[in-house]
């Protein structure tokens, strides 16, 4: 009996020893990479060089894989197309929310664990620029030829923009022949009381940026108010016309939902003109016209502007274990060639001049009057906005 007991203890010790052993390996790996926070990776990564796709593919083959952290849901399809074009390189990774990406990358960076190669997405743009890019957790990779191919007004956007999207006002095309509103302030009138729905900005960073856009462009909103009502706006306890708009929108009995998909579905089902519904949601949901046969459309002309714009951007992650594969992937996805194919759906607009879209609905993003995003403004106002929103919710 004693022998067995000692055996048991010995077993426990062995367990601990192996734990220690593997710990040594790991911690040395971790600490060495922590020390590497000098710029040796950055130097060897040659992010300012513009190698050709073929050159990158040759080098990437040795790496054999890459990992993408993204907020887009279409990664499985991107993976398929990429792997078909570049056999021997496996795309790994998955969908996270944008704040989860920040959380994960920050923790990984601080711990010296480098898992991800590429980050791709929109939302939380303030946090991405201020908390990730500025701190060196992610880096820009902007090959000259790709940047040259961008539509001029997107050339200055940090990271590498792939798509342009915006959150806008969806309506049902069975209920309305043309868009039922032409000024954002229309939604604060009794006519639309109880007939506006959107996903909670507390549930999605994308929705949050959309609402912050009104605050960012408060002067435009004040002008549009005057245009609609013929008098200057009187603020009712809020700071500016942007906040005032959001407050009145919510007080107009807006219906808040948990997911953007629910919002679009509700609009699609609201075919009754007497009980119409405007749903605020991301433009890429226009794809549901095709995919789900939904009778929906986006209001493409609105005072003062249609919406704040947002961009799906690409970054390379610091100390990316598969640097060449990451560069190849970024170049391929942003280059406006085959890489755009999985993204080429109505409501997702290319940032590259090389892609021509031809859908029966809004095809040219240049025709739509959008506000420019401002990551720094977003970053600094998030806490205030959250307090404001929770107060009036």
């Amino acid at each position: 009996m004693k022998r067995l007991l000692f055996g048991f203890i010995a077993f426990a010790f062995v367990l601990m020893m192996t734990a220690c052993g593997s710990n040594d390996n790991n911690s040395s790996k971790a600490s060495s990479s922590t020390n590497n926070k000098d710029d040796s990776w950055l130097e060897s990564a040659k992010l300012d060089e513009s190698e050709s796709i073929d050159e990158l593919y040759e080098k990437a083959k040795e790496e054999g894989e890459l990992t993408v952290y993204t907020i887009v849901s279409i990664l499985p399809r991107i993976k398929e197309v990429f792997e078909e074009e570049f056999p021997g390189i496996e795309v790994k990774g998955g969908k996270l929310s944008s704040s989860q990406i920040v959380d994960k990358l920050t923790n990984e960076y601080n711990a010296g664990i480098y898992e991800a190669d590429v980050m791709f997405g929109k939302g939380s743009s303030g946090e991405w620029d201020e908390d990730l890019l500025q701190k060196g957790i992610i880096h820009e990779y902007r090959p000259d030829d790709v940047v040259d191919g961008l539509i001029d007004s997107y050339k200055n956007i940090t990271g590498l923009p792939v798509t342009v999207e915006f959150d806008g006002a969806f309506y049902n095309t069975d209920a309305f022949d043309e868009h039922p509103i032409d000024n954002w302030w229309d939604l604060t009138t009794p006519e639309w009381k109880g007939n506006i729905t959107f996903q909670s900005p507390m549930a999605s960073a994308g929705r949050m940026e959309f609402f912050i856009g009104f605050i960012h462009n408060a002067d435009d909103m004040a002008e549009a108010y005057e245009e609609k009502f013929g008098e200057e706006i009187e603020l009712d306890g809020t700071e500016n016309a942007g906040y005032e708009f959001i407050k009145r929108l919510m007080e107009n009995d807006a219906i808040i939902r948990e997911s953007a998909e629910d919002v679009i579905q509700a609009v699609a089902e609201s075919t009754d003109k007497d009980n119409p519904l405007i749903g605020l949601g991301p433009s890429n949901k226009l794809y549901d016209r095709e995919n789900q046969g939904f009778p929906i459309a986006l209001v493409d002309e609105l005072k003062p502007k249609v919406a704040p714009s947002a961009h799906q951007r690409l970054f390379i992650v610091d100390n990316a274990p598969n640097t060449n594969a990451a560069k190849l992937f970024i170049k391929w996805l942003a280059g406006g060639g085959n890489g755009f194919e999985p993204l080429n759906t109505p409501g997702t607009f290319p940032a590259s001049k090389n892609v021509k879209q031809d859908f029966d609905i809004i095809s040219h993003i240049e025709d739509i009057d959008l506000w420019e995003p401002d990551a720094e403004f977003y970053y600094n106002i998030i806490d205030d906005f959250r307090e404001f929103y929770i107060t009036y919710e």
């Binding site: 004693k2 993408v68 849901s73 507390m202 549930a203 999605s204 929770i390």
Partner: protein
């Protein structure tokens, strides 16, 4: 002097040797190490984070002051707190009543098809909890939120009022029809083991049926009810998706919806503080509950003489049967039917026959459908996720069942020891932390090396570990309720025969508690297959699971694909459930601490 010193040294050595060679002590030490590593350190980290200023990294009370008495405390903490307590209390009461009533009908009365009913009544537990909210809206949706009205309005032309469509009442009812399963399982297990002659005797002595129920049946099932109460109240306090779906349209918030939105908007500290509040409330409830149980010593009267006599319901037999079947239909059968139908729709929401397709199951990639994503059985990612899900769920369930048995051994055999009580309490704590907060704190804890142990982040081990730990309260209960029925005599007999502790455990305890282990296993397996929030932050690119894939599909608007994956998950759960109950001859109720 040296002699005394030597003797003293020898004595200490002996005491030490006796201490560390006692199997019980070793077991306690090992379990304490395990729980410190997996529960105490992460929770400590969570608490300490709330006292650190995010910007300056200095120690501060400002996070707490902000939540407790800041500008938005009313909306962030106090209102949701009241709502949470209201929901928790109402769900507990209703679920206990419903579950116990159903348990009584299916064990003690003469209604037909009791076994089949029992099977269907457990089914809701195997569905994702948001499922109930979804079904509720299909039935009760009204004009308010736009879109198609629900079936009630469609068929009966009655507009359900807002209070019935959204907010407090539907949340309570949806959660009740999900968590009544705990009460049903525990109470029917107790009723099944109880001798009906007691009730008969009372009847002969002239007690009315109601008196019998109140004076005899109820006191005997009280321990099971209190036990179910803990499980139900803790689960409903922390539930997120049902309040989110049914509460948001009327701006009804609970603590858990606030915790989710805080963490989702990068306000982790607020989320942690609210989580701590939730733990405190739940702990108070658990404490009170244990005081009630602890005072009295309940002993279920065992020993079956003959088969139990069933209560004759008389004229009520048929109406009751019909009512129960309507209930089963609306909570177990109809939801699955809706879900499967959803997966067969080419265009979501179009219920016509020409819209039916099998594309989302077996279709090859078609650029016109779901952006070129193939049906789930043709999609390599679904298959690899399936492999990961099964591996995580099977491993986690097996490990949790064994650890549960070991902790159960400590709490039953070492009942008087201080540490056994501590272990029992600590093992229960993860159950009270909302999954999203627990996941976030695991991310913060396990990306760095703790003690001398390796960095677990990025490994599948961590996913298994967090699942084991989160579900530990179940398996611990399963373990202790099984072991309490295995008399100490058997073990002593083994000891006399010279069997070591390991031998005794492997050869005596394990075989005898096989059913308990299996029951703990199935409970964890069910949760692990559905789990998303707990692991999403910890999932490494290689370890996608079916649940994370569902999230991806759902969010991308590929509703049919998402629902097809959910159908697959439910199907697997039911298969494994049938295997463990029919082949393994166990009863799932043991898994939550039933007899």
């Amino acid at each position: 002097m040296a002699k005394i010193f030597n003797r003293l040294q020898g004595k200490i050595k002996n005491t030490f040797k006796n201490f560390v060679t006692s199997p019980m002590h070793i077991l306690i030490i090992l379990m304490m190490i395990f729980l410190i590593y997996t529960i105490i350190i992460p929770l400590f980290k969570m608490v300490s984070e709330t006292f650190i200023d995010k910007a300056t990294e200095e120690i501060t009370l400002s996070n707490w002051l902000y939540v407790l008495k800041g500008n938005i405390s009313e909306k962030l903490l106090y209102e949701p707190l009241l709502n949470t307590i209201g929901v928790g209390a109402s769900v507990s009461i209703l679920a206990l009543l419903l579950g116990s009533a159903l348990a009584w009908f299916t064990t003690r009365t003469d209604i037909p098809f009791k076994k089949t009913m029992g099977f269907f009544m457990v089914l809701p537990y195997m569905f994702p909890s948001w499922f109930k909210a979804f079904v509720w809206l299909v039935l009760f949706k009204n004009d308010r939120v736009g879109g198609n009205p629900g079936l009630i309005q469609n068929l009966l032309n009655i507009t359900p009022p807002d209070w019935l469509a959204y907010g407090f009442i539907p949340i309570v009812l949806a959660l009740t029809t999900h968590y009544y399963v705990f009460a049903f399982l525990l109470v029917s297990a107790t009723l099944g083991a109880m001798n009906s002659s007691l009730e008969e005797q009372a009847g002969i002595l002239g007690a009315s049926r109601f008196q019998v129920l109140r004076k005899i049946t109820f006191p005997l099932i009280l321990p099971a009810i209190l036990s179910a109460f803990i499980l139900i109240v803790s689960k409903s306090l922390g539930s997120f998706s049902v309040p989110a779906i049914l509460g948001l349209p009327v701006r009804f918030h609970t603590l858990s919806t606030r915790i989710y939105s805080s963490i989702e908007t990068g306000h982790q500290n607020d989320g942690y503080i609210l989580s701590i509040m939730l733990i405190i409330i739940a702990s108070i409830i658990v404490y009170i509950n244990q005081r009630i149980i602890g005072r009295k010593n309940y002993e279920t009267v065992g020993g079956k003489d003959s088969r139990n006599k069933l209560t004759n319901l008389g004229v009520w037999r048929i109406p009751t049967t019909i009512c129960i079947w309507i209930f089963i239909f609306s909570t177990s059968i109809f939801p699955v039917f809706l879900l499967v139908w959803q997966t067969l729709m080419l265009h979501s929401g179009d219920y016509s026959a020409k819209n039916i397709t099998f594309h989302h199951w077996i279709g090859e990639s078609d650029p016109n459908i779901s952006n070129g994503l193939a049906g789930i059985f043709k999609n390599p990612q679904v298959l690899s996720s399936l492999k990961n899900s099964l591996m995580i769920a099977l491993m986690a369930a097996s490990i949790a069942a064994i650890i549960g048995l070991l902790i159960g051994y400590i709490t039953t055999r070492g009942r008087k020891m201080f540490f056994s009580k501590v272990i029992d309490q600590v093992a229960f704590m993860p159950y009270l932390v909302p999954s999203i907060a627990f996941g976030a704190i695991y991310l913060a804890t396990f990306t760095t090396s703790t003690f001398f142990l390796p960095v677990l982040y990025g490994t599948i081990t961590l996913l298994i570990l967090i699942t084991v730990v989160k579900e530990l309260p179940f398996t611990t209960r399963a373990g202790s309720s099984t072991l309490i029925q295995i008399g100490g005599e058997l073990e002593e007999a083994g000891k006399v025969m010279g069997a070591s502790w390991i031998q005794r455990f492997l050869k005596i305890m394990m075989p005898l508690s096989r059913k308990g282990i299996l029951a703990g296993f199935i409970i964890v397996f069910i949760s692990a297959m559905k789990e998303l929030d707990l692991i999403i932050l910890l999932v490494s690119p290689q370890s996608h699971t079916l649940a994370t894939l569902t999230f991806e599909f759902q969010d991308g608007g590929y509703v049919q694909l998402a629902n097809a994956v959910i159908t697959l998950i439910i199907f697997i759960i039911i298969i494994v459930y049938i295997l463990t109950t029919v082949v393994g001859k166990t009863d799932i109720s043991r898994g939550i601490g039933g007899k």
